[in-house]
Amino acid sequence: MNLSDPIAYLSLMVFLPALGALVLAFFPRGREDAIKFTALGFTIFTFMLTLGMLMEDAGGVNFEAGAAEMQNLFSAAWIPSFGIQYLMGLDGISFPLVVLTAFLSVLAMVASWPITKHVKAYCILFLLLETGMIGVFMALDFFLFYVFWEVMLLPMYFLIGVWGGPRKEYAAIKFFLYTLVGSVLMLIAILMLYFNSDLTLLNSQQLADAGIFAVAAEGGNPQTVEQAYQAWLASDDDTARRFQEIQAETNPARRRQLHTFNILALQQMGQLENSPFSQNVWLGRSIQWWAFLLLLIGFIIKVPSVPLHTWLPDAHVEAPTPISMILAGVLLKMGGYGIIRICYPICPAAAYELAYVVCGIGVVSMVWGAFAALAQNDFKRMVAYSSVSHMGYVVLGLGVWSLGMWTAGPGGSATYNADYWKMGVTGAMYQMIAHGISSAGMFFCVGVLYDRVHHRNLNEFGGIFGRMPVYAGMAVAIFFAGLGLPGLCGFIGEVFVVLSVWKYSQLLAVVSAAVVILTAGYILWAIQRVYLGAEYRGPHGEALTPMTVREMAVAIPLVVFAIVFGVYPPSLLNYMQPSIDRQVETLAAWTERYDADREALQNTLNNDQEQVAAK
């Protein structure tokens, strides 16, 4: 296997954990430590693979920091008759999330050591889950995306339902149903888009960008896009053949469409001037309006946002600690990732129209989650609600379609300046990573206590600082990262988002800024009730022993990253920023065209009416 080929490297990254699951299946029962170490080995190796992309000349492919476009893009036919491809690639938006996933999987596996029940099954499911998660972030074919989405869902159901707390069945079913509803809605949207897509609307450059055919830029014979296009048409590729057939058809009435699941191609189509998704379909709304709505509901269930968030507290409360870490650290990010990768580029007109709804949902979640967190007495539930609140920032930041109508400098004409929008999206992305670290850390901190005293009642804690000073110090650091304290990771994302919102809507900006008070309120109050105080008066006080080395191994990396990302954001932004800028600039340019179109349309309508009136 040649690892310098993206198809091999990326596939390995995705399927290595699954492979590990397969290996574990042959392990004899009873060798629990061996099973755990093997599973840990696979997660570590996956993580090494992701890190390997950061290093040049390390063998294998590498991820270039300053590049904006999709990197390591590869495609292979999977189900050609439906245009389904095995298409994957990474850019600045997905790559950090993949690294985060692999990183948190390692930590979660380390945190899984206290699990004693059905260890083998647990590890297998865990590894399958990791495959699903990484796959979701790398898949660029809608069908493939959906498959990974579902692959991730099922292990999660079992992990909560078998290894969970007292009400685990209830929580698992709830999680499953909610997510399934989201998946179904997403499936409907995918099919809507699929059956209205048409590859033949795209020109050769767009097709190349979408990975329909590869352009050999280096190596023996560098090609131009056109050359590659011709070469592709001449090949015996099934899609190319049908592409030519349709193009050759001269009678418009008999002309068919070449449907595709390719997300990148769908993005291109969605942003066309005469997008096939803009036709009216129902209730005077266009296809993309409905598709956007369905996809959005699917994704905000995952985020989760108010009012579709109630599965989260239950799932978190019942799930075992490592699963909570994964759930909060990675799964929630998929919603945000879906919105930025799928909803906005594919359905820009609908997104433009509904941007306020998205932002509104984000702000409501922020406020709602914060208020609800204030009222919780269960430590884990409190943290779960804080996730709702923090993920609200993500939705808000993704939603701000703020285009400044002025250009800086004297004498400038009114042009679209998307700087504030870029800032918002950057903030949202940053917040996703930061929340991945801080929320996983928070759940871990809860888990450390729960493992010792077997309860999570905030009112029965107190004085932990005196008993477990090192643990308490790290926990406080992580909680402060969640609180958005400068110098820790939570601050950067929050402040980027909040500062960018004003340009879009002053009202939302003010409300979102107010959340900083509530956040401080519930986090400080929780810290006070758990860590401060004279002595621990709850049950099992004797079990409060200092942190073990294993636990430190989980907590220290989280604290370190929380600090690094808080102090020096360019460490992360260098990878993210170009892709975000590119996407926002593309959409800003689209908006400019779209607004001009709408203006022209309005003028035409007015003229018509005037003519009617004149007659």
Partner: protein
């Protein structure tokens, strides 16, 4: 040394405490026995900072920017008068040197003009937190005379406090440390490991954060360090984490500050959305382009450094307010409104940090922290950060925003002073005094007294840290905060007593009136009263209150400070047990006291034979354009007089006498009551029972906030959480139950509450009003006389107000 060394020097001064913090965090207790060397590391770090700051000031700044004599009042007064429309009421009988000053005026004026736009400042970026097109959030520095002054002041005081803390926190070196204020379940006291190193770790982090705040080159960076000092304050207030009161106070402090930060965020957003920059200074990028900072954008050289919202701000304002309202010159008001929002927003942050009304409630509770913390964080430096930011951000405050600042400052100084009169906890008296003095600074800044306010910031930092450290020494000696258990201590601890007396005299502004000789507070407080006088004379009407309150406040200040001193050090010991055990503190604690006492006396002076004084240094940092008289746009009747106008001899004369008279009145009252015991405080308390109760309960702010904000918030949180549960469990039954329930509830609600309630309420009101009036009929002749007197006063005030309203 070249001025280009300044960023390096100050960066070293700034980062050394961070290094100390890191070392202590990582090594902790392993540093010497019980972490003892952590203290030395921390002290060493702050001494390095101090040295670096002083080197920066004396070695790099002053040689390159020689000080002009800005205190030549005649000259600057004349120079300021040119820009003002107020009639020049210069009295004819000025003395010989006054005439000489007039002769100089023209030259000095020309020189001022030339320097007006050339205020030396160094600005640069270290790295960007994020960059989007032209938008850039950076970590950088902005160094001018104010920065250098603040660096020296902060590091100097921090060094004193660090050294002092070596002695004060000595108990924490014991393992186990016994916390006598905490009882554990078996009824005994809490035994815990000492946390000596933790304390110094936080102190170092605080020093780092505070210096970072001062050196910050843009608003975003200020915000970053703003929060960091907040969190250090949180840790230090809650240092005794085992005490419920301490952790409550820490939470309260941080959350209250967050409320202010919320406003600050709004102000930042308004700026960010309209100007697209947070930078204070202008930066020339390597490719030769100039990036203008906030101040240059708002006060361009073309506009003579007057505050004019740039076009993009007007555009953003119009978008924000959808307003087409026009000003007199045809422009839109929207830009000014936005500027006002930005200014007030930024000021909100300062309200939180500097404990101004209505967010002042946290500071007194913050006294739960160890006393060195109170001295450093909660009196001298962090709480002054709000004032510092107002001063730093001054060019961007519109006159209306300044009025808000002044009014808030005025309310704060009055309320805090009244509360301080009844407080019996020695540190709380000082805490309220701090709040009150911060109110003075805000007032001064708001009234246009830029240099006066910041000067008071510097002088106050010295004498207040001195006062706190003295109180710490007392607490250390008697193991109690309650002044009612002290008395006569000056015989036991003379150094503490007399250094504290120096502090008290400095804070009340003791000096020889009408001369230039006094303790540090004398100069700065007089300058504030002068500015208030100048402002009140310019604007008249109700603005006189902005003069009356500080003068009354000065009397109250003198009263409560000397009440404190007399109760603690004079008279007879009230608690003999405590008195017998009292002792003077060790040298490591008293030496910082003596050093600070020296500064409390002398920091207002000019070094003989040179122009070196804090005032002149501050004058050098005065931003371009703020020296002129400015007029409100949204509130056209508002005029903020130039600071130079307040140096007019008539104003100096009147203000000086008023301030002195007020201080003497307060001092006399305190002496009569607490030293001579001519009047019995208990009887007075008895007479003023309701007022006393109001002040004793701190105007019921805590209760009010609890009832109006905290409890509703918690209730809302519970509602929201309950709502979530209801959605899950009762999704199906919900609607039917709701529709049945609503009709029932509505019937009950409407009939019983609205209909019956209205009728009953009116009846109750009438009854209550009657009872209220009945209480006025005391039947006592003497009280009727008082009513008459009060009525006369009210009548006078009412008539003047009506007249003012009619004329304006």
């Amino acid at each position: 040394m070249d001025a280009s060394a300044l960023p390096t020097l100050l960066a070293i001064a700034w980062l050394t405490p961070l290094a100390s913090f890191t070392v202590i965090v990582l090594l902790g207790k392993s540093l010497g026995p019980h972490g003892k060397y952590a203290g030395y590391i921390s002290v060493g770090a702050i001494l390095v900072s101090t040295v670096m700051s002083l080197v920066a000031l004396f070695g790099a700044w002053l040689p390159n920017h020689p000080l002009a004599d800005a205190s030549h009042h005649g000259a600057s007064y004349e120079a300021g008068a040119h820009g003002s429309s107020s009639p020049n009421a210069h009295s004819g009988d000025s003395h010989a040197d006054g005439r000489a000053a007039d002769a100089h005026a023209a030259d000095a004026h020309a020189a001022d003009e030339a320097h007006e736009s050339e205020k030396p400042a160094y600005y640069g970026d270290w790295y960007a937190l994020g960059q989007w097109g032209k938008l850039k959030l950076t970590i950088g520095y902005y160094i001018d005379a104010l920065t250098v002054t603040m660096f020296s002041m902060v590091s100097l005081i921090a060094a004193c406090v660090h050294v002092y803390a070596l002695g004060y926190m000595h108990d924490e070196l014991h393992d186990p440390y016994v916390d006598h204020e905490v009882h554990v379940h078996d009824g005994g006291h809490l035994h815990r490991p000492g946390r000596f190193h933790r304390f110094f770790q936080y102190l170092s982090l605080f020093s780092f954060s505070m210096l970072g705040l001062v050196i910050a080159g843009n608003v975003a960076m200020v915000f970053v360090f703003w929060e960091l000092v907040g969190i250090c304050s949180y840790f230090l207030i809650g240092f005794y984490i085992e005490r419920q009161s301490a952790s409550n106070a820490a939470n309260k402090a941080f959350i209250t500050n967050r409320v202010g930060d919320f406003g600050m965020l709004i102000g930042m957003m308004a700026l960010w959305a309209s100007l697209g920059t947070f930078a204070f200074g202008d930066l020339t990028t390597p490719d030769g382009q100039t990036e203008l900072g906030i101040f240059s954008r708002l006060r361009t050289a073309e506009n003579d450094h007057r505050l004019v919202p740039p076009p993009e701000m007007v555009a953003e304002g119009e978008r924000t307010f959808a307003s087409t309202e026009t000003t007199g010159d045809g422009g839109s008001n929207a830009g000014h409104w936005l500027l006002f929002i930005a200014g007030v927003g930024i000021f909100c942050g300062c309200v939180g940090k500097s404990a101004q009304f209505p967010l002042h409630v946290w500071l007194p509770d913050a006294m739960e922290g160890p006393t060195p913390v109170s001295a450093l964080v909660h009196s001298a430096t962090m709480v002054a950060a709000g004032v510092y930011l107002v001063g730093r951000f001054y060019p961007a405050f519109s006159p209306e925003a300044l009025l808000v600042i002044a009014v808030v400052g005025c309310i704060t100084l009055t309320i805090a002073a009244t509360i301080a009169i009844t407080a019996v906890d020695i540190k709380r008296v000082l805490a309220y005094s701090t709040v009150s003095q911060l109110g003075y600074m805000m007032l001064s800044l708001g009234l246009g007294g830029w240099a006066a306010g910041l000067f008071h910031l510097v002088t106050h930092a010295f004498f207040k840290s001195l006062l706190f450290l003295c109180s710490g020494s007392v607490i250390h000696a008697v193991h109690s905060n309650d002044m009612r258990e002290m008395g006569g201590l000056r015989r036991k601890m003379p150094i503490t007593a007399y250094t504290m007396l120096v502090g008290c005299l400095a804070i009340i502004g003791a000096g020889i009136p009408l001369t230039a000789f006094g303790l540090s507070g004398y100069y700065s407080k007089d300058a504030i009263v002068e500015q208030a006088w100048s402002f009140a004379e310019t604007n008249k009407g109700a603005y006189w209150l902005l003069l009356a309150m500080p003068v009354v406040g000065a009397a109250m200040t003198a009263f409560y400070m000397f009440r404190l001193w007399y109760m603690t050090f004079a008279g007879k010991p009230r608690n003999h047990h405590r008195y017998d055990h009292a002792h003077e503190s060790p040298a490591v604690m008293t030496r910082p006291l003596l050093l600070l006492a020296f500064f409390a006396i002398a920091v207002g002076w000019t070094v003989p034979l040179t122009n070196l004084s804090v005032t002149n240094l501050l004058h050098q940092a005065e931003p371009a354009g703020i020296a002129a008289t400015s007029h409100g746009v949204l509130l056209p009747s508002l005029t903020v007089p130039a600071e130079a106008l307040s140096h007019a001899p008539e104003i100096k004369f009147k203000a000086g006498l008023a301030a002195f008279g007020a201080a003497m009145t307060g001092l006399l009252a305190a002496t009569v009551i607490y030293l001579w015991n001519t009047l019995n405080p208990a009887e007075i308390r008895q007479t003023f029972q309701p007022v006393y109760r109001l002040l004793w309960n701190k105007w019921y702010f805590d209760e009010l906030y609890s009832a109006a904000l905290i409890r509703p918030t918690m209730a809302l949180g519970r509602r929201i959480a309950a709502f979530d549960r209801a959605v899950i469990d009762e999704l199906i039954h919900g609607l039917a139950w709701l529709s049945r329930g609503v009709s029932k509830v509505f019937g009950v609600l409407f009939d019983q509450t609205v209909v019956d309630g209205t009728v009953n309420t009116f009846a109750d009101w009438t009854w209550d009003f009657g009872l209220l009036l009945r209480r006025l009929q005391t039947g006592s002749v003497r009280q009727y006389v008082l009513f008459i007197v009060a009525g006369t006063l009210v009548l006078f005030v009412a008539v003047s107000t009506v007249q003012w309203l009619a004329y304006s």
